[in-house]
Point group: D2
């Protein structure tokens, strides 16, 4: 069986696991106060060109979104997100559970356009009284998006500019950050993010770690952030587990190097799909590939490949997703070519 | 430097880490639907003599308490706990963050006595109207307690009986479950817990895992428990990380075997402390040892040993805690003897 | 200055205030246990043809929505509402503050169509896993809607049928219930609502009371509902204030009678507007009238009449709302005719 | 039947109700933007000697506590209160429902002593790490307390001083403020409260109003306070109802004058009880009188008088409370003398 279902189907990159093994019996203090966590944070600061950043290591994506958003919003504020955003739809109401509304705006191929955000804010602060409404307290976008698309530098700067004008913190969900950074088409560096956002996270779970996401506040974290992490049950006793992993991923650019494998295998897969005439649901340069299958075709393919149902296209067609990761082998892509 | 500060200072037991290594590149489905998680659950059910149990794997202790408690309570209910209970004091208000009150009752050496609970419930349901009060919706105890003490079987049965009479779910926090089970003095087995409680958890973080706690509902989990886990940001994408660890810990009684090391080293340390005339703050049979040091003595000892401040005893004395774990080496205990 | 801004601009109907005066010095028990509250509930049960109903008196509309919704939903559930619904937009995130998501579906002139709800539910329970999503736990509609429109009996039955099929509780916000009931076009009686819904409320604040909304559970209220009311700060110590008011409003059909005045004055105003050629934004049979004004026209009118800005229509036109109430005098409508 | 059960058993003071009647048909804007509310606020500012104060009118006591506390605390903070405080025990978990812990400290006759608070804060900020604990974010006391006792000026200044030192906002629950102010023994004026606290409220529900509490922020309210009031369902559409009532109560010192009746009748009742040899449970100078009755005596008395059960004293005795109010008639006190 060939496996292209998602980008979190393997364990950790072997170098990460080896480092956990090597450091395993060292007796270290807990809750992220160990030297590996400190070293990881320092390397991440350097990678972001941002020596003053506050960096924190959390465990998973939904957790990170819930902790970051609920720590930054005031209680009368909500987070503005594309209606397709992960926080809107696929986190079981984790944001609302903390008392905050997700203020949905229309997205386009997974992205929130600067003009959409501006219109929303203009309307909110425009005519009429908004004292009985949820205040926009933060903008949430993903790089790369749930639809595998990437913000260009111009787009990211435009959205950042709108946020600045309205003093709205900008938060970038980077669950798949590595797979964005590794794209040939990518224009937005970690240093750009540090310059253009209030907070973003660099995903580990999907990019080489067993688990773990690195939250970066380029300027300053909210006061008592660690207590809020604890309050949401997101503080790992053995912080070393996250520290060692990110320390390894950010040594010698391992994070970027292993991400490239996902892109190279995806590029090859795109080439194969195109040559065989599969229609793309939307064009993406990343490790997420969306194609439209005839339902019969889909059924047949499922006998030898695992991929994701995305959505119904019409009565006789379905959109499906193929994903690659740091661990995808090129030979599996070639085998896939045989059955496509 | 000798290290007796806590029982989460090492990584994972080597067998656990090896198994993560061996299974690392297998492509597995996410969110706990992999075969290792299924196998771990089955072994845990067997260890609890409870083939019908619902078992779930979460990441850490505070998280587990917050998820279990907030999933079981109705919104007008609170959880009854000893005033010294971990959920009352050291979880940064994680329970209140989910909207529930911790109803504190006096504890005794970390335990909630059955009679204390009964009095509380009698008073609540007794004279007068309680419609304007938080309803007791669950009782929370720890085995072993924050004070290193153990409930006897009679005590556990007594508290379970009170709970049954008042139809109050009983929840046992087992962050250090292994170190209780491994005690010579222990009378309460996993099967007893399955018989006497509504839900309990078997701690991994402190007993051989990198992270992870196994929640056991001997009868049935609340409906849509997984969605609530997700809603609280506690669902690991790579559920295999927890599955493989618990599968290993519950193979050939590894969990119990490695726990014994903590008890044997603690027993030896107790012997040494006693022979040298150190006064014990309270008598414990577990891996947590509390002694009273003169402040000068404490200062001197800190130069060669890491241990925990517990509380001020009087102007010139301090209560400190020495903890052992599955990873404590007997030779370190003997070295400690030299400096005590 | 003529006043058509809203339907809560007067105090209480004089008969209501007189009754408060007459009963003022009686010494009565608190928290809704007084005989006037009991009598009010009994009269409401009778008006709904529903002798078994549980009835509760709360203070205001947003409060009632927040209490009812948060008392009925399980914590992993949200409330399905039209995107224009009051709970979605104009309650400052009161629902999210209690931890629940408002699941927005497209509305049509303020109404949620049965087919829209069915599609939403089919999609949710259809293809794919929904374990990571907020479960639909209740449907919320308003009779009459924020847009002044009314559900026909067929529409109400259709939506109730969808709810029944999916075991989804149906909640009707009746802030302006009286003004619906008093319409000539109205087909949905209180008895119909008792038959077709799980819970609804009969608004007092906008229909003759100083404050107060009567929540009707035709079958049974959630267990410990009063404690949840208290928990949300919605329990009035002097429950008599609400009891006496609703007792008066439901004596000799006062509620219905005074509602008719709003409709008669609105009908006359509609006639005037139509005869003068004002374009209607949408057709409504109730006390809410929406017309499109040229911006210049609007400016001029504002010098002698108070009305509500509703929304921008285009660059040169604005939608405004005229509202009548139980207290609107026909002579004021005629004066308005002079300045229109 | 004689009625001494509580101080909220009548409606409103007749002058208040008359004023509601007189202003009833005026068409006024909603949500507290009417001129009566503005006038009430201005008079309250003057009564507090505090022309810069932000004043808000809410509906009831539990609501006011929940709104004020949840609006001022940061999410990682709790409110420090005496274990007997109303927010701890009798508000159905309203504070926890908003996500915050009530940090209980021992009280003395209903009061929190300055030294108790200081010890608590010293311990919290003293030895050890408190990053995993709920931060004290506000102190809550009542003037007069649930036990009918009053803080002296020295006590109030002492507690205010501790709060200042620790930059801890001080909140005074004044549900029965009038009955404190009207005591001969009272030393703490509204101006003192304005000087010594961060926020306090002046109770109307128990002192002459149908409902209503006036929240006073002597310096400044939290930003967007009204939105938070709305978010908690505490914003009355017809704000005039509260405005007219407080405007009347603060005209010609009506609030103080009518409060004196409660004290005069309570003083006479105390005199009677003392002369007849009834033992007092604790000495109070206010409208709350606590005496110890033999259970037989209590049973007999209940045939002709309504009073409150307070708590069990011993097997054969019970503590009961007699309360007077602005509406208590001296002749009823004399009648009570006959049956005591």
């Amino acid at each position: 069986m060939l496996y292209f279902e998602n980008d979190y189907c393997e364990g950790a990159h072997p170098a990460v696991l080896n480092r956990l093994m090597e450091t395993n019996m060292e007796k270290l203090p807990g809750y992220g106060t160990d030297p590996y966590t400190e070293s990881a944070k320092e390397k991440i600061r350097r990678a972001c060109g941002c020596p003053e950043a506050d960096v924190f290591l959390l465990t998973g994506g939904t957790q990170t979104n819930a902790v970051v958003i609920a720590s930054m919003l005031k209680r009368y504020e909500g987070v503005v997100a594309a209606a397709t955003g992960h926080v809107s739809v696929h986190e079981a109401g984790a944001i609302e559970f903390t008392g905050h509304k997700v203020l949905e705006v229309p997205g386009k191929e997974g992205k929130m356009e600067a003009e959409t955000l501006r219109s929303y804010l203009e309307a909110f602060y425009g005519d009429g009284n908004h004292e009985h409404m949820v205040f926009p307290g933060m903008a949430y976008i993903s790089q790369l998006t749930e639809y595998g698309t990437l913000y260009t530098k111009a787009e990211m700067e435009a959205i950042s500019k709108v946020c600045s004008e309205y003093e709205l913190p900008l938060y970038v969900d980077g669950a798949r950050m590595g797979y964005g950074l590794a794209c040939r088409e990518n224009e937005v560096t970690l240093a750009d993010l540090a310059r253009l956002t209030t907070v973003f996270y660099i995903g580990g779970t999907k990019v080489g770690a067993l688990c773990g996401e690195a939250v970066v506040f380029p300027k300053k974290a909210p006061k008592h952030f660690m207590t809020m992490v604890k309050q949401q049950g997101a503080l790992l006793a053995k912080g070393r587990v996250l520290g060692v992993q990110f320390d390894t991923l950010f040594t010698d650019e391992l994070y970027l190097k292993i991400s490239r494998n996902a892109i190279e295998t995806a590029d090859r897969l795109r080439e194969i799909l195109r040559s065989k005439g599969y229609p793309f649901f939307l064009e993406t340069p990343t490790n997420q590939i969306f194609v439209i299958l005839e339902n019969e075709q889909k059924k047949k393919l499922e006998q030898s490949v695992v991929f994701s149902f995305w959505e119904k296209y019409d009565e006789t067609h379905t959109v499906v997703r193929f994903a690659t990761s740091w661990g995808t082998r090129m030979e599996d892509v070639e085998h896939l070519a045989d059955v496509l």
